[in-house]
Symmetry: C2
Subunit: 292 residues, 2 copies
Amino acid sequence: MTGQLVSDEPTTAVLSGAALAKEIRAGVTAAAEALAAAGAPPRLAVVVATDDESTAWYVRSIAKAASKTGMQCDIVDLGPDATAEQIRSRLTELSEDTSVHGIMLQTPLPGGASVEDLAASIAPEKDVDGANPVSLGRLSAGLPAFVPATAAAVLELLDHYQVPLAGRRAVVVGRSNVVGKPAAQLLLQRDATVTVCHRHTRDLAAHTRPADILVVAVGRVGLIGAEHVNPGSVVIDVGTNPTADGGLTGDVDEAEVAGSVAGLTPVPGGVGPVTTALLLRHTIESASRSRA
Amino acid sequence: MTGQLVSDEPTTAVLSGAALAKEIRAGVTAAAEALAAAGAPPRLAVVVATDDESTAWYVRSIAKAASKTGMQCDIVDLGPDATAEQIRSRLTELSEDTSVHGIMLQTPLPGGASVEDLAASIAPEKDVDGANPVSLGRLSAGLPAFVPATAAAVLELLDHYQVPLAGRRAVVVGRSNVVGKPAAQLLLQRDATVTVCHRHTRDLAAHTRPADILVVAVGRVGLIGAEHVNPGSVVIDVGTNPTADGGLTGDVDEAEVAGSVAGLTPVPGGVGPVTTALLLRHTIESASRSRA
């Protein structure tokens, strides 16, 4: 099923991720059943080394989504005192374990441990969240690779809502290795003219306002308001900031922007569920290839 | 020695690469002598599989620069009929050869052979032209890596002429794996706001005109004219297009742009000599590390 973005309406289309995530999970469920029936049930391992509560919430949501699709998901909790060496050796073990098809290293990590450095110990063929620098390099070079799930979700949503990319102006705010940089690479691969903005950018609004596609992945509430957009902008809000009441809110001021743009992803319910579903789909891809 | 860019003059500063390249080669010469004296002469291998004449010219210029600094440079010519498998196995051999410290795979390659794919067989620690996707990924992730020499030369020139980068608008025209993409990564790492343009970009001039730093790496004569720049632009011309009289010309219309920008690299004599010198410096770095 593909949505249709109606951009000539005066209202802003809500680019929900719910239906798309459901569609992706349905595919995962069918594939997981087939693999299990063939004696090779797909399995995802999420390595955690923090007691951060919002991380725990996110990891449980992955496990819950996995269990709904019939996929095994192990939460490998090494605790907040794990050393970089312990994390590395566990990633190496999981990389060698033929019953594990997807490996994800959750951040934040204990002080001194660098995700870029440790993720190099995740076998590229199991690197379902595209964290190994090899994956990022293969993406950048245009070779097949797992793409970080959040960045992949941005593109899935744009495609689902049939947003044209080739030759259009895409502006990415934020330059993290997990979202901003890979999203910029993917948009470039799809022939958009891509600008990456960040905290050193002067006059952010001057850069974002002309954007046809605006991807915001900073983690600051209210960063993007009416002055940052134009009526034709499609805005993908990757921010997930905790609110006082235990909920989530994005980087875009939804109240201010609604009515001023063509489309906007909600938070929660936009990029998030699609990201989780794609992690599972990547694991299915890895499991299927390991049997080929 | 560092040059000084005088941008308040009505004339355009010529950002020559000659002095910078000489300075880099002087450092290489001293280091090559010391390594040779210690019984470990640095050695660069350039793998060629084409009979293209301008490639042969470029490769000879690398060998000549190497020999001036006292560095050994082997041109490994596999001929235009080499298969991908033959190239791959030679790259693997050179990667294992402890007397070789730098390996470069020259393009173009015979039909069917992909440089991105083959370069994965160059050991990352000897990948002095940053062609292995691992190198590109490490660069993108902010980890230490060899950067493609041409992209590195762009940054060396900007630094040599003390062009500020943080918070400024950098526009890169061209998205090749050897220049455009890594140059964009390097500029982003240095806190510029970076836009990448390419053949699908609509209204190129609208994107390039506001640039503080404009890097052009397309390979089309006269692509950039007066309408693409502003009086404050610093323009790095990476194009090397053969002229009818056997010379080289860049992508920037020098006659049209001169006087309209703050600074411009000449072609030849701008990025080219710095690139060659950096290939040698990378080889010295590799040779020094292999003894550590």
